[in-house]
Symmetry: C2
Subunit: 386 residues, 2 copies
C-alpha cells in the first residue's frame, strides 16, 4: 500500500528481479494495491512476460494481476458479493472489492483457465467474525470456477485464500470444484516447513498472531485440475523462505509459492472424472452452510438493531419541534430557550438517523446475500443426496 507499506518500492523491485530471473510461464500476484507498482513491474518485465493484466475493482483496487509468457485471450472479473464491512476501517477489506480474476491462455494448444484471487483476511482465529463472509466467498469462487471452466483443458487457481489447509472453506472449495492442492501432491518440495507461507521468521508478519503456530501457517495455494483428456501432476513445489537472497528484507509478508506442473495429454479421454466422495462432500457443504446460517442470524440481528436505532433517532428529531413549540409557548418561561443545545441535539439526531439508515440498508444486503448462499448450498446438498 502506497505510503503505508515499509520499503515498498525496494520490494517491488526485488519481486521484479525474482520474476525476471526465474522466467516463469505465469505469475499471479495479489495485494498489488498501487497501479503504479503494476505499471513499473509491467515495464520491467515486458521482455520476459510480454502479456499481463491488472484487475480493477473496489475503491482501492482488487490488488490482483497476472504476468504471462503466453498471450492472454480473455479475462473476466467476479467481485464477491460479501467482503466485510465498510465501517471496519482498520480492516480495510471492504474497500478492496475482493474478487476472483479469470484469464484464459492457450499454451501449446492446451486451453488454460487461470484464476487468481484473494479472500477476506482472518483477523482473529478464535472469534472470526468474518468466517461467514469468507465462506460465501469460497462458495462463490467454487461456483464461478465450476461454471466458467467447462471448456478448459486445465484449471489453475492461485492466491491468498486466508484459510488453513483443514479449514471448512478450503475443503468446500476443493470438494466442490475437484481442484487438487499442489503442496499435498508435489513430488519434490523445497521451502518453509509444512509449506507455510506466513512464517514468524518473516519480519513483516505480526508475531502475536502466529504465536499458536510456531512454524507458521499455510494460507497461500496453488490448486489445479485437468479435464478428462489431460493429466496434471506437480513435479516440484517451492516457497521463498523469509529474506530475499543476499538482502535483509523479504519480498513480501507472505512467502511466494512456485510450482512446476507437468501436463500430459491422455491417449484417450477418460469417460468421467474420478467420482468424488459424495457423502463426505455433503458433510462439508453442511458444515459450511451451518456457519453461513450463524452469520445470517448475526446479520439479521444487526439489521434489526440498526433499524431500531434509526427509528429512535427519527423520534428524537420529531420531538424537537414539539419541545421548541412548547418552550416558545411559555412552558419553559422560567428558563431561556436553550437554542444551542437544541440545535446540537437536532444535528446529532440527523447524523444518527443517516448513519443508522445506511447501516440498516447495508445489513439488509448482507442478509440477502447470506440467505441466497444458504439456499444455494441447500440446493447443492439436495443434488448431492439424489
Amino acid at each position: 500500500i502506497r505510503y503505508l507499506s515499509k520499503r515498498r518500492q525496494e520490494r517491488i523491485q526485488l519481486i521484479g528481479d525474482l520474476l525476471h530471473r526465474e522466467g516463469f510461464d505465469l505469475a499471479l500476484l495479489q495485494e498489488v494495491w498501487s497501479e503504479q507498482d503494476y505499471s513499473d513491474l509491467k515495464a520491467k518485465l515486458g521482455s520476459c512476460y510480454p502479456f499481463s493484466h491488472y484487475f480493477r475493482s473496489g475503491v482501492i483496487g482488487s490488488g490482483l494481476c497476472v504476468f504471462s509468457r503466453f498471450p492472454i485471450l480473455d479475462t473476466l472479473l467476479y467481485q464477491y458479493s460479501l467482503n466485510g464491512y465498510p465501517y471496519m476501517l482498520q480492516h480495510g477489506d471492504w474497500f478492496c472489492g475482493k474478487s476472483v480474476g479469470l484469464v484464459i491462455l492457450k499454451i501449446s494448444g492446451i486451453l488454460f483457465n487461470v484464476y487468481v484471487t484473494h479472500l477476506h483476511a482472518e483477523y482473529c482465529r478464535e472469534k472470526d467474525a468474518y468466517l461467514p463472509h469468507r465462506l460465501v466467498q469460497a462458495w462463490e469462487l467454487a461456483q464461478f470456477i465450476r461454471h466458467t471452466s467447462k471448456a478448459a483443458d486445465v484449471v489453475l487457481l492461485g492466491g491468498d485464500l486466508n484459510m488453513h489447509p483443514e479449514d471448512v472453506g478450503i475443503r468446500l472449495l476443493r470438494g466442490w470444484t475437484g481442484l487438487r492442492d499442489a503442496f499435498a501432491e508435489a513430488t519434490h518440495f523445497e521451502g518453509c516447513e509444512d509449506g507455510c507461507t506466513l512464517i514468524p521468521k518473516n519480519c513483516f508478519t505480526v508475531k502475536a498472531e502466529l504465536l499458536p503456530f510456531p512454524l507458521g501457517i499455510r494460507i497461500d495455494y496453488i490448486l489445479y485440475k485437468a479435464s478428462s483428456s489431460f493429466t496434471v501432476t506437480c513435479e516440484e513445489l517451492r516457497t521463498t523462505t523469509g529474506t530475499a537472497p543476499g538482502r535483509d528484507i523479504p519480498f513480501s509478508d507472505h512467502e511466494a509459492v512456485m510450482a512446476t506442473l507437468l501436463i500430459r495429454r491422455q491417449g484417450r479421454a477418460v469417460g468421467a472424472a474420478p467420482s468424488t466422495d459424495e457423502p463426505a462432500l455433503a458433510e462439508v457443504v453442511t458444515e459450511a452452510r451451518t456457519e453461513v446460517s450463524v452469520g445470517l442470524r448475526a446479520a439479521r440481528q444487526q439489521r434489526y438493531s440498526k433499524g431500531r436505532m434509526a427509528v429512535r433517532a427519527l423520534r428524537l428529531l420529531l420531538l424537537q419541534p414539539t419541545a421548541a413549540l412548547g418552550a416558545l409557548a411559555g412552558l419553559g418561561a422560567q428558563q431561556p430557550f436553550p437554542k444551542l443545545s437544541f440545535s446540537l441535539l437536532a444535528f446529532l439526531a440527523v447524523g444518527i438517523l443517516l448513519l443508522a439508515t445506511a447501516l440498516h440498508l447495508f445489513h439488509t444486503m448482507e442478509v440477502k446475500k447470506l440467505q441466497g448462499t444458504e439456499e444455494q448450498m441447500g440446493m447443492a446438498l439436495r443434488a448431492l443426496r439424489e
Copy 2:
C-alpha cells in the same frame, strides 16, 4: 413494489393465472421486488411449475425469478459492477443490485443455460446519463454468457434490457455472444405492432416518454443460440396487448413476450459456428467503447469535484477552532462569541465532509470499473483484428 405499485396483488394474481393457464416450460420474471409476491406465485404454481428460483441481490432484491417445469440443476448470480448512483433516489436502480441470473436445466437430455436479467432503465433518451453504465452491464452480460455457457447445448436469454433493437448495447450483446433475436427470426408473430413491449395503450406506462414512439418501443427480449450439435428456431412469438383478457388492467407496465422454440439435434456436429462478421463486430465494440470513454471522463470529473468539495469542507472545519480561539482571545470582544452559528457551521462542515468523501469514493469505484471495461473492450478489439 409493495405499497407503491397500483393494484399489485391483483396483477400478481393475473400473472399467476396466465402462467397457470398457458403451462409454459419456463417463465422468466423481472421486477418481482417483493419476495412475498414470489412466494405467493410459487405456492400457486407449484403443480405446473414445480421448480423455481428467486435471485437475491442488492437492498431491494434483483427482482429476478424463474419458474420451470423441469428441475433446476444449478444457479449462479452475477451482479453488474455499475448500476447507477445511490443518491439518485428517484431512479432507485442502484438499490436493486441489478444482476444476471443463470439457471441450468436439462430437458430431454439437452443442457440449457437460461439467463434472466434486467438492465439499468433509460430515463431520458435524449440525454441518457446512464448509457455508459448500461453499456458496462451489456458487456458484462455478454462476457458472463460467453464464459459460462461453453458446456451448454442451448443458451436462452430473457429479460428487460432497456435498449431499443438498434441500440449499440443490444448490437454489442448479440454480436459478442452470437445470440439471435426471437422477434426477428420468428416464423409467426402475434401481438403488439413491431413487437413493442412498452406501449402507450398500457395504462401503467408514462405517456410522455412514449410521445416520439406512437407504436411504443421494444425493450424486452428473448434471445437464443445453440451449440454446434443443435439448432434452435422460433416457431411462434407472441406478446400480450395491454389489458388482460376480460379485465380493465394489464398484467404489468411491460407486455409479456412468449416464444415457442423448436430445438433439433443435428445429425453431425458442424465444425464451427457460422463465422460472425468480424469487421462489423469490431465497429460495434468501438462504438460501445467510445460511449464508455465518455462515461469515464464524466466519472473522473465527478471524482475530482467531490474530492475538492471534501477538501474545502475540511478546511472550513479546521478554520473553526482557529476562529473560536481568536474570538476567545478577545479579538471579537466587541461582539459576543456566536456559539450557535459556529456550532451549526461546524456540523454542516462535518456533514459535507462525510458526504463528499463518500461520493468521492463512489466515483473512484466508478472510474475503476469504466476503465476496466474500456480496457477489456480494447483487448476484444485487438483479438478481433488479429
